[in-house]
């Protein structure tokens, strides 16, 4: 099993709904966020391209944050979901330094926090809160090993890219272009 997410940049309008939904679902403290929107503009008026990307932890296959964790608090759950056990985390910040996506932050309570792909929902067969809420349905989540999963179907006939592939982390967010 390999959970992954595909983000259709042809449909995303950058509304930030995924960010608020994550905030309310996971009780993320104000001023922090586990997902975010990047707007990328290229060209000169009027020959322009514009892309919105809903970004979050890439739940990398080769996750530097898990490797560098001195206590094993950062670990990989079933399906490749990278999470942090709060009571094992000492808040040393090494994993934050190690993440090329800056997807982790130090929670005001001390431990390091990040996107969990809404593990608590996924374990019950629900989709992550951001995916469920997205008005444009531009987020697709599921098991890459299952050819009929939402995410497998979404990336099947489409061009996609991942972010910072040169960082060598084997990220699992697929941006459909």
């Amino acid at each position: 099993m390999r959970y992954a997410m595909a983000i259709d940049t042809n449909k995303c309008v950058g509304c930030g709904d995924c960010v608020v939904a994550c905030q309310t679902e996971n009780n993320v403290p104000h001023g922090y966020c586990r997902d975010w929107i990047v707007e990328s503009v290229d060209g000169t008026y009027p020959s322009l391209s514009l892309e919105f990307r809903s970004e979050r932890c890439n739940h990398c296959d080769n996750s530097p944050c898990v490797r560098c964790c001195p206590t094993g608090a950062s670990h990989i759950e079933e399906g490749g979901i990278v999470t942090v056990t709060h009571n094992k985390c000492i808040g040393c910040g090494a994993c934050i330094e190690s993440c090329p996506y800056d997807a982790r932050y130090s929670h005001p309570d001390g431990y390091v926090d990040k996107c969990t792909f809404c593990l608590h929902r996924v374990q019950k067969g629900q989709k992550p809160a951001c995916v469920e809420v997205c008005p444009t349905k531009c987020l697709h989540f599921g098991d890459l090993d299952d050819p009929n999963s939402d995410v497998s179907l979404a990336i099947k006939d489409r061009k996609w890219k991942v972010l910072a592939p040169e960082a060598g982390t084997d990220p699992q967010l697929y941006f459909l272009t």
């Binding site: 950058g14 930030g16 960010v19 001023g31 922090y32 966020c33 997902d35 975010w36 929107i37 990047v38 707007e39 990328s40 503009v41 290229d42 060209g43 000169t44 919105f52 530097p64 490797r67 560098c68 964790c69 001195p70 206590t71 094993g72 608090a73 709060h86 009571n87 094992k88 985390c89 000492i90 808040g91 040393c92 910040g93 090494a94 934050i96 330094e97 190690s98 993440c99 090329p100 996506y101 800056d102 982790r104 932050y105 130090s106 309570d109 001390g110 431990y111 390091v112 972010l163 910072a164 040169e166 960082a167 060598g168 982390t169």
Partner: protein, 313 residues
Amino acid sequence: MKEELFVSGRNIPNIDPYLNIWHWQIPLYLFLGGLAAGILFFAGFYTVRGKANQMPATVKLAPILAPIALVLGLFALFLDLKHKLFFWQLYTTIRLESPMGWGSWTLMIITPLSFIWVASYMKELIPGWNWKFNILERFEALVIKYRVALAWVMMIYAIILGVYTGILLSAFNARPLWNTSILGPLFLVSGFSTGLATIIWISKDAKERKKLSRIDLVFIFVELFLIVHLFMGFKAGSQTAIEAANLFLGGPFTVSFWVFVVILGLVFPAVLETLELWGYHVPKWLPPVMILIGGLMFRFIIVEAGQITRYLY
């Protein structure tokens, strides 16, 4: 024009706009670790070579500073932890892939060794010292008997510690400035150099100081060589590596790095030490203090600048 920006208001404390999760604690910790590693290495080195008595400051006196530096360093590390009450989790597991875990275990071993080392010289340093308990006296005798073996272990761990202070950073692929294998040797050499500087400062023996100064000069030259090598590597690298180097080549860290670290922290003390070796009178404290300040600044600059470098946006 290319424009990339967060449009969901992302502004996480210590993460945005630039990563700044490690403040003064980590560079201080790295500095003190390197310093202690240097002191302990040379204490071990001259013990193994049987020159403990010709090099009293190196083998007996300066090592008193090592456990102090290590404890202060560990305390700085502790201050850096944001979930402090869980620090003991460090020692519930051994994670070979984690430099942070590696370092904490190394310190767990070398810190007691440094205490034992110092303790074994207590009687020589303070006449009339008495351990009060028999078991301690017996233990002391045992240590003194196997001092050379202890010296070997200490040397090995000192190298591990010295390299570790660099590897802690260089293991982070995500920070292009840090992600170079030169950082390990560079921090090792720099740490040993600060250790030597400390001993030189303490030592009252002209011969000992002369000997150490010569070694220090070698270390400084190696360090300078590694720094040049570091930037050549970056400039020949990917866009992110070039951007990392540019922070120091015209960017915001240019003056602080080249003036304070390289010129005042390496070149200038090297010149002074050379002059001193040639017999000119140089204030005894000046070169070591410059090296120490340079070494400290070096770590502060590398930690801060490294956090600015990134792959995205």
